[in-house]
Amino acid sequence: MSGGPAVRISIESSCEKQVQEVDFHGTETYVPPLSMSQNLTKLAQRIDFSQGSDSEEDGGEGEPGDREWGKQEEEEGTVKFQPSLWPWDSVRNNLRSALTEMCVLHDVLSVVKEKKYMALDPVSQDLTAGKTPQVFQLISKKKSLATAAQLLLKGAEKLSKSVAENQENRRQRDFNAELLRLRSQWKLRKVGDKILGDLSYRSAGSLFPHPGTFEVIKNTDIDLEKKVPEDYCPLDVQIPSDLEGSAYIKVSIQKQAPDIGDLGTVNLFRRPQKSKGGTQPWHVKLEAAQNVLLCKEIFAQLSREAVQIKSQIPHIVVKNQIISQPFPGLQLSISLCHSTGEKKSSRASPEKPKPDDHLYVLEHNLHQMMREFHKQQLSSVVMPHPASAPFGHKRLRLAGPMAYDKAEISNLQQSEGLLEKIIKQAKHIFLRSRTARTIDSLASRIEDPQIQAHWSNINDVFESSVKVLITSHGYEQICKSIQLQLNIGVEQIRVVHRDGRVITLSHQEQELQDFLLSQMSQHQVHAVQQLAKVMGWHVLSFSNHVGLGPVESIGNASAITVASPNGEYAISVRNGPESGCKVVVQFPRSQIKDLPKSDVVQDTKWNQLRGPHKEVNWSKMEGRNFVYKMELLMAALTPCP
C-alpha cells in the first residue's frame, strides 16, 4: 500500500432522493423531497392511537381500540387522497372520537351508579371469571387441572400401549424366529388355525401306526408386570400325553427264574435328564418325545414278534416286559421303561440302589436295528419297471418269470425279526461273558500251568474270538505247545487247535472247563517233551491218550517217557486231568544194590539194562512248578561230564 503510486478515487454521495423514473436518455427524474410540514404530517399519521399508554382502560377499551384502527385506516385513506388537508386533522379526529367515547362511558357509569335504571350483570365469561369468588376459582382450577391430568394420563396410556405393542411385536417376531428354527428341524404343517408337527419316524421308513403329532403353541400371553423367567420361550410345543416323560428299553439277563408274580412290574426309574446348554426347551421336549415313540415302536415290534414266533420255550409278554429263555435256566428280559411324571419317579426311587444289570450294548443294538429296519423299509420301495407294473418288491416280481421254487421264494421272504436277532445277540453276549469267566476262574484256581487269554478287541455281534495260551511260568519260550483259538458263536464255541483240529463245544460251561483242564494236563507232558529236547534227553515214548491206568472222568491221561543222554536213567511221566501227575524214575540195574537175584539175568552185561522204577514223591520235590521240578530232576539224573 505505502509503496504504490497514489490513485485518485472520486467518491460521490449515493442518491438520497428516490428515483421516480428513468428516461430513455438515461436521465433520472427524482421525487422532490418532502417539505418540513409534509414530513411532520407523515410522522403524525404514524401515531397509533389504539396503543394507549393508559393501562387502566386496556381491558375495557379493547373494542373501541379496534374501531379506532378501522378509523385510522379510513383516515389514512383520506389523507392519501387529500394531502392538502391540515396535517393534524387525523390526530384531531382521533382525539375527538376518544372524547366522545369517554363522555359516553362517563354517562353510563353515572347511570349505573344510581342503580335505578341500570344494573351491571355478568355478561361475558371473562368478566365472571374475573369476579367469581375463590371457591369457584378453585373449582374451575381443579377442573382444568383434572382435564390436564386426564390428557396426560391418556398420553401415558398411549405410550405404554405402544411400548407393549412393541414388545408384543418383538415377541411375535421371536415366535416367528423360533418357528422358523423349529421348521428347520422338524416337519410342520398347518391344519386350520393350528400348526401341527410330526414326531414319527414315518418319513424314515417306520411303519408304526402312532400318529406322533405335536402341536405348536404360541406362548406369548405372559404377564408383562412379572419378571420374565429365564428359560422363557415364545414357542411351546404340546406333545401327546402318551409320549410325555422319558422312556428307554431295558435289556437284562437273569440267571434265576423270578417268581411269576414279579412279571411285568419292572421298576421305573428316571434317568437324570441331561439338559444340554444352548438348546431350546422345545427341542429337548421333542427329542424326548421322539425317543419315547421309538422305544414304543421297538417294544411293539418285539412283542408282536414274541407272540408270532414259535419257539420251543414260548416267549412271555406281560405288560411292559418280554421274557425269553435263550439258554436253559437263563432269562432274557426286555422291558419298556416309561416314566411319565414326577410321581412315579419318586415312588420308584427307593428301589434304585438295585444293581444295574442293563445290557447297554443290546439296548443300543436294538435301537440300531430298528433304524436299520426303517432304512430297509425305505430302500426296499423301488419304482417299478416297466412303469405300468405294480409297486412291490422287485425280487418277488422276478419269482414268476424266473420260475423260482418254493425254497427260493421263502428264502426271499425270510427275514429275521428284531426279537430273534436280539436273542441271538444276547446268547452270544452271555456265552462270551461266561467263557471269559470260566477261563478266568481256571486261571485263578490253577497256578501251574498258567493259562492266558487274549481277547480280540473287534468283534462281530454274533461272533468273537479269544486266543488261549497254556504256558508254564519261566518256560514260556520252550513250552508253546498249547495254543487254542476259541471262536465263540451264538450257540456254541469252536475251538481251533494249533495243529488244525477243530473241536465244537456246546454252550454248556462244563464242557469248556473240562476241555481246558484236559488241555492243561496235556500241556505238562508236552512241556516235558520240549524240555527233554533242550536238556538233551531222548523221548522214548509219548502218548496224548494213554489207554492204561485208572480211567479219568475228564478226557484222557497222557504220558511220556524220556531217557537221559547216556541212557542210564529214564523218567516216565503220566499226567491225568483228574488223577494228577505221577513221575517215575527208572534206575540202571548197576546202581541198585538189593536187586533180587534172578536166574535169567546173571551175566554182568545185563547190568546195563535199566532196572526197576521208583516213584518220585513229586510234591516233596523242590521247584516252583512242574517244569522246573522236571528240569531239576533231569539235571540231577544227568551225570556230570
Binding site: 419304482m383 419297471h385 412303469a387 407294473a389 409297486f391 418269470p401
Partner: protein, 209 residues
Amino acid sequence: MEAPPVTVMPITSGTINMMEYLLQGSVLDLALESLLHRLRGLCDNMEPETFTDHELVYLLKGQQGNPFILRARRSLSHPTAPWHLRYLGQPEVGDKSRHALVRNCVDVAASHSLPDFLNEMGFRMDHEFVTSGHIFRKGAMKVVVCSVSRVLVPGNTENTERMSLSHLVELSVLAPAGQDTMSEDMRSFAEQLKPLIHLEKIDPSKQRH
C-alpha cells in the same frame, strides 16, 4: 404226484382281483417342468425316476364279440427287468359320484419270451408304442408323466415319432374292489395339481366314438 387243483371259479381274493383307479390328463410340454416340480414337492421323498417303456398291444379275436386285449410292456431302460403283461377290464359303470375311473386289472410279471408265447396262443399284435417320462409315488398312488411315441418301423424302438406336443399324466392306484376312499384321496391329490393340470375321469370306450 398230485396235480394242483384247477381253479374254475374266479379268484376273489389276493392280488388277482384288483381294481385300478385311474385319473388322466395331459399337459403341454411347455408346462411340463413346472408340473414335475410340483410333483416332486408333493410326492414321496424319493429320487425322481425316469423310464422308457415299449408297449405292445395284443388282440385275440374270437368268433363273436369284442376282441380280447392284452398289453405287454417291457422296460427299455432296464432290459433285465421282467416283462409286464396286463389285462384291463371295461370301466365299471356303477357309481357316477365316484371321482375316479375304476376298472378290473390283472398284472402279471412275465419272462422275456412273452411275445412269442402270445403269438403261439393266437394273439396278434395290434399296435405298439414307446412311452418315456417320469414316475412318482405318493403312498399307494402312482403318478406317471410320459410322452407317447409312435413306432415307425415295427419292432424298432429306436425309430420313433412323438404323437403330440404334450405329455400324458396318469394318476392310478391299485386296490381291491370297493375301496372308494382311494378315489377320495386321488381327488384331493388331483385338486392340489389343479392349476397346472386337470386330472379327470376319462372313459376310453367313449373316447373312440
